[in-house]
């Protein structure tokens, strides 16, 4: 039941990028969401923020030209676009928590139909906990998107009625972009906005087992 036609990670990144409007201030979470930057066309002026203290983040430098004092939140070397700026951590998280970032895109372990997010802790008792900026990013932006595969490798749905992993934030995710569908989340529950080519709403209901509205 898990051999549905899926968007590739690249296709998924391109799909999210479509929904990011010109002029938006965006934070792309560590991991999968960073791919989105590759699909923001240069003529569409989108400004990327990184919570370690820069806005106007540009692409990775050419190999050998890294400046290890110019890095992103994933600790990768980056560049600064013309018009970018640096600031300290409190100002940076004020940007985030004060609602100044338009869109934040995060990966997730689980998302609930009402937009609860679990992406920082697997809940295993011996796991060393680490949260970083996850909880701030989850609740701070005007809109928080999740980008993830809808199912785990073993076929379990990561979209759930109630998260079983420890929460990152409550009701904070407004939209889920997955390899099988784009789904809006709200206090009223999940509503499918768009299906991946070849996927039906019944497929989705079957593999997720959650209540899904349509249209």
């Amino acid at each position: 039941m898990n051999d549905l036609p899926r968007l590739t990670r690249q296709q998924l990144a391109a799909r999210v990028a479509q929904d990011i409007p010109e002029g938006a201030y965006v934070n792309l979470g560590i991991g999968l969401p960073t791919l989105i930057a590759n699909y923001l066309p240069p003529e569409k002026d989108v400004i990327l923020q990184s919570e370690n203290g820069l806005i106007g983040m540009g692409p990775a430098p050419a190999p050998g030209e890294e400046d290890w004092e110019l890095i992103n939140a994933g600790k990768q070397a980056v560049t600064l676009r013309t018009g970018g700026a640096f600031f300290h951590h409190a100002d940076s998280f004020a940007m985030m928590r004060g609602g100044h970032i338009d869109i934040c895109v995060l990966g997730a372990f689980q998302v609930s139909v009402t937009g609860d997010l679990a992406n920082w802790h697997t809940g295993e008792p011996d796991a060393i906990p680490a949260v970083g900026g996850a909880m701030d990013l989850a609740i701070g932006a005007k809109r928080t998107f999740v980008m993830m595969d809808l199912l785990t490798r073993s076929g379990e749905s990561k979209l759930v009625e109630h998260c079983t992993y420890p929460l990152t934030g409550i009701g904070c995710v407004s939209r889920l972009y997955s390899d099988l569908a784009v789904i809006d989340l709200s206090p009223a529950g999940a509503r499918v906005v768009e299906l991946a080519p070849g996927v039906t709403i019944d497929d989705l209901r079957r593999v997720t087992g959650v209540t899904l509205g349509e249209g």
Binding site: I55, L80, G83, A85, G98, G99, H100
Partner: protein, 229 residues
Amino acid sequence: MIDKKVTNCATAVRAVNDGAAVMIGGFGTAGSPDELIDALIEHGARDLTIISNNAGNGDAGIAALIREGRVRKIVCSFPRQPDSHHFDAAWRAGAIELELVPQGNLAARIQAAGAGLGAIFTPTGFGTLLAEGKETRRIDGRDYVLEYPIHADVALIKAYRGDRWGNLVYRKTARNFGPIMAMAAKHAIAQVSEVVELGALDPECVVTPGIFVQAVVPVTSTQRQGLAA
């Protein structure tokens, strides 16, 4: 292309609706967005809540807004000045509401709004008239008053240079409330002496990153500067 440049103050202040909460930067002669305030008076928005350090002096700026009856309420630290006659008259007539806030609490509450805090326990004002009726708490042996963030619909501020992304730098003590008001308002309008090319401002020295600014208006005249005292 992101271009926040607005050609004139009249266009910029159309963002101010009747009943809006409007922050206005400036301390004394430094940093007052005089031309934006003139345009706001011309624009005609009324029933405003003004958040500013002072309540205007002389016959221009916030004083003129009050004279024209546009201000329902003012939130400030120091309304009384030798020539604050328009505020004085309105206040004595009961025509304007005053929320008096110690200057440090004013700055901290504006900053808290910009940073998304729900409330702060601040040391200033404990045991005074200005904390009457407010929640207090002793923390680590010191007394604090619970104060809430001050948000605004629009901020009118004056900066020195700005670019089309809205990045700003200020000049000397004209910086004062500008950076924190830009952060606390939904829509921040900065009048600047000069709009410079993107990239002309050193990214290490940008004081207000453009994310906090929605409109940049070049205003080269500084007719009142140096006159008020």
